[in-house]
């Protein structure tokens, strides 16, 4: 073996050693995040269930004259159930992606409808924190796009939920949508505390929470952004997060043509091989 070859091999070994070390570290971190996940999830599920059970119980005991009191309680039940539904959607999506079972289900979707149904789920928190949520979507003008409605909806649920979670009271969140050529661009920006450089590097990892010390305040399973990233990939899209004053997320998704075949047989030029 020549000196050059030896040098090359030695370089390769060093590189491999580095990869193995990195993997070891990440595996260890992953295990510890996994155990955090169990405790996060217990809070995320027990608390809403307790509220739902107690509110529903009170409603059943209301007398006819007090029935109007059921409305605010029903709102709380709705809010808590919507939170549970959101967490379950994330967990099931993560499980399905990890099992390799997720695939796009393409249809013509009305972006306004998806956006409205997402915002409706967080209305309670938006009112509670007195946030202003503004959008360029107009109720008179429908924005149509061909994509996977369920996946886009879960992506938006996660991104808007994060913006609400990390926005201080009385601030503004902007969600703008535009279609340029065959791309849907979604821009979500908030006036929150922003994201540090260190956190930015690990933000799409599962079970990561940007600030472990404020877990009890902000809640969440730690799965959200890893699910967003994986779903965006399935839709062939791209996501960019920038954070200076507040956080801005730019999501770009290409339109998927329903009729297009995945492959055109006529263009194959090489001989067929059979195995």
């Amino acid at each position: 073996m020549s000196k050059d070859e030896l040098n090359k091999k030695s370089k390769q070994i060093t590189e491999l050693q580095k990869i193995i070390n990195d993997l070891n570290n990440k595996l260890r971190d992953s295990e510890s995040f996994k155990s955090n996940f169990i405790s996060n999830i217990m809070n995320e599920f027990y608390n809403p269930f307790t509220s739902i059970l107690s509110m529903a119980d009170i409603i059943t005991t209301l007398s006819d004259t007090n029935l109007h009191k059921a409305i605010p309680m029903a709102k709380i039940i709705y809010r808590e159930a919507a939170q549970l539904d959101f967490h379950l959607q994330n967990i099931f999506a993560a499980a399905s992606i990890e099992a390799g079972l997720e695939e796009p289900e393409i249809s013509r979707v009305v972006i306004n409808k998806i956006y409205n149904s997402v915002v409706e789920k967080f209305q309670f928190d938006i009112n509670n924190k007195q946030l202003v949520l503004s959008t360029n979507l107009s109720s008179n003008d429908e924005l149509n796009f061909t994509t996977d409605a369920k996946k886009l909806s879960l992506i938006l649920l996660n991104l808007i939920s994060n913006s609400i979670k990390y926005s201080p009271d009385n601030t503004k969140i902007t969600c703008n949508f535009e279609i340029i050529e065959d791309y849907l661009n979604i821009n979500i920006s908030d006036e929150g505390s922003g994201i540090s450089k260190e956190i930015m590097e690990i933000i799409f990892n599962r079970f990561n929470r940007t600030n472990q010390t404020i877990n009890s305040v902000t809640g969440g399973t730690g799965l959200g952004l890893s699910v967003v990233n994986a779903l965006t990939e399935i839709l062939n899209g791209n996501i960019k997060i920038s954070s200076e004053k507040g956080t801005t997320i730019l999501l770009t998704i290409p339109e998927i043509n329903i009729d297009s075949d995945n492959f055109d047989d006529d263009t194959i030029i090489f001989d067929e091989e059979l195995f």
Binding site: G100, F204, N205, I269, L274, F275
Partner: protein, 159 residues
């Protein structure tokens, strides 16, 4: 005999079935491992893009080590004995400019399947790996037959 179901396998996904099925996929630097139970006549295919899950994002079958392990487990879940499973592997073309890497993705993808299938004691009975052309595969899960065609470079960019 009725026509087998047709299924297009996307990158990062896997598909296995006891029902006869024709699984099609398109490969550039990615690898597809087709596993077939030669006694029970069923099988499955994965399509991974990178060799190892490095702890970033979800542990999905986009990564070779996860995709291969999951596919083997899936077949065993369907009733296979590891000794009855054979493999046919395709892909790993050098279609991306990888001069900055000491190992290119295609090569590393090829390496991981060799290692993992060997560890699992699964024989590779057919393969078409490497090169600089993409591939289109059609795998019949009932007969184990794989039809493969090379595809143009321009088409690989769309994969």
């Amino acid at each position: 005999m009725s026509e087998p179901l047709k299924y297009f396998l996307l990158p990062g996904a896997l598909k296995y079935s006891k029902q006869p099925m024709e699984i099609t996929t398109l490969l550039g630097s990615c690898i597809a491992v087709c596993l077939w139970d030669s006694k029970r006549n069923f099988g499955g295919m994965n399509h991974y893009m990178m060799p190892h899950w490095n702890g970033t994002g979800l542990a999905s079958p986009k990564f070779g080590n996860i995709a291969i392990e999951k596919l083997i487990k899936s077949l065993i879940y369907l009733g296979s004995q590891p000794g009855d499973i054979v493999a046919k592997v395709f892909g790993g073309a050098a279609v991306l400019n990888s001069s900055e890497c000491i190992f290119n993705i295609g090569e590393r993808n090829i390496h991981i399947q060799e290692e993992l299938l060997k560890q699992a004691g699964i024989n590779v009975v057919a393969k078409s790996l490497g090169g600089d052309r993409g591939r289109k595969l059609i795998f019949n899960t009932a007969t184990g037959l794989v039809k493969m065609k090379y595809v143009l470079k321009t088409q690989i960019n769309q994969i």
